[in-house]
């Protein structure tokens, strides 16, 4: 684990994230233009989609893929139930807030996945290409669970967001871009990919640095301004990634994934959405407080995952594979 921890803390990627958090905490005026941040997030998704598809074209489809996809969908559906129970009892949240937060933890964070990929690559644990598809399928099932939990027994008064919601959930920008570029990578294959590799592979880590600088700024600023967060919720925002990550690694190892992919699966379970799910919640559960769910997922669990938990998960995946 030490090698991963060192790998993490001297990686420019993580250091830029920490710089962003420090600058945000010091209330510096530093900020990345919105359009650039949005552009970088689209780039990151297109890149990992493409690279996953190319890896898939190289390796071919095998049994593992189906198992991993199924495990991902089940995890995304199931995690919110466990999280909801704790958020209601220990976290003392209302039904609606608990449902909204639970949806975030069932879903995934693309950037956490991507950063983990770079860190794992650095220690020779390269995740399989199909993990990108697992990432894509895990984004949305959690939204269904979260809404079910939040609305159970409540008469849906004037469900205006309805039609828009399903659209948002299934044709959501990141799912379309991830799966679309996955397909393109698969069709184009490794030879054609060469022509665009410099952009989508060569620059990847550098652009991730700049993107994480921005995420650090946003995470710290939000934390400073949050009012609704208490010690119980902080505890849960650390506990969820820890437990979900370990369980994820265990399941993935059990279904036969290699250590790199098992670690990536653990990271997916550990990570919490802060892009797709918040947008869906604004539509479907407008009464839920973004001050709770965004702060927990973005300002607490996200940094914890990046700086500490990816290292722990990688260590666990190795330990389990070694046994």
């Amino acid at each position: 684990m030490d090698s991963v921890a060192l790998q993490t803390l001297t990686s420019p990627v993580i250091l830029f994230f920490i710089l962003g958090m420090l600058a945000g905490a010091a209330r510096s005026e530093l900020s990345i233009p919105e359009a650039m941040a949005k552009g970088m997030s689209l780039y990151l998704m297109a890149s990992i989609g493409l690279k996953g598809g190319v890896a898939m074209a190289k390796s071919g489809v095998n049994g593992e893929v189906g198992a991993a996809l199924l495990a991902g969908i089940i995890a995304s559906l199931a995690i919110p139930f466990a999280a909801y129970a704790l958020l209601r009892s220990f976290g003392r949240l209302s039904r609606i807030d608990a449902g909204a937060v639970a949806a975030h933890y069932g879903s995934v964070s693309v950037v956490t996945f991507v950063t983990a990929g770079e860190i794992l690559k650095g220690v020779g644990m390269i995740p399989a290409g199909f993990m990108v598809a697992v990432l894509a399928v895990m984004e949305t099932p959690a939204i269904l669970s979260g809404l079910y939990l939040a609305r159970r027994g409540v008469a849906k008064a004037g469900d205006d967001g309805g039609g828009g919601l399903w659209h948002e959930v299934f044709l959501n920008a990141s799912v379309v871009l991830l799966l679309g570029s996955f397909a393109i990578g698969w069709i184009a294959g490794p030879v054609k990919f060469e022509e665009v590799k410099l952009l989508f592979d060569g620059l990847f880590k550098g652009i991730l640095c700049l993107f994480l600088l921005d995420m650090g700024l946003i995470a710290a600023r939000r934390l400073l301004q949050s009012r609704a967060i208490n010690a119980r919720l902080v505890t849960l925002a650390i506990l969820f990634p820890l437990v979900n990550g370990m369980l994820g690694v265990a399941v993935a190892t059990a279904i036969g994934l290699d250590p790199g992919s098992a670690a990536a699966f653990g990271v997916l379970c550990a990570s919490a959405s802060y892009i797709a799910v918040p947008a869906a919640m604004r539509l479907a559960l407008p009464q839920a407080d973004p001050g709770i769910y965004l702060t927990m997922s973005l300002s607490l669990s996200f940094p914890f995952n990046l700086i500490i938990n990816i290292g722990l998960i990688a260590w666990a995946a190795r330990a389990l594979a070694g046994s």
């Binding site: 900020s31 233009p33 919105e34 359009a35 941040a37 949005k38 997030s41 004037g158 205006d160 967001g161 828009g164 948002e168 921005d214 995420m215 946003i218 600023r221 301004q225 949050s226 009012r227 802060y274 892009i275 918040p278 947008a279 869906a280 604004r282 539509l283 407008p286 009464q287 407080d289 973004p290 001050g291 965004l294 973005l298």
Partner: protein, 102 residues
């Protein structure tokens, strides 16, 4: 002097993911059109926010010009959303040229 008529101008500040709900309401009221302006940052009871298009936590301003009757219908249509979805609605009289368009 050129002839003008009085219409209502309505502006609604909403979370960007909710803009579609607002414009759908405008369409339902058979108002001829709407225009969306970007917004950079703000502060309200729920705290301050700043350029966060990445997390979808940003806002937009929807503006529409309509007759008094249509405007009232829109206000009523949107009223339930105002509290639940945290919209901010302001409305005032403006002069327009070629009023038959609205």
């Amino acid at each position: 002097m050129i002839e003008t008529v009085i219409r209502k101008r309505i502006e609604i500040l909403a979370d960007t993911p909710l803009v579609r709900l607002v414009t759908a309401a405008i369409d339902r009221c058979e108002i001829t059109g709407w225009t969306v302006l970007p917004v950079t940052s703000g502060k309200g009871r729920e705290g301050q926010w700043h350029e966060e298009r990445v997390t979808g936590a940003d806002k937009s301003l929807v503006l529409t010009v309509a007759s008094q009757a249509h405007a009232s219908r829109l206000a009523e249509e949107l009223a339930p959303l105002l509290t639940s979805h945290g919209l901010l609605l302001t409305m005032w009289d403006v002069e327009v040229i070629r009023g038959e368009r609205f």
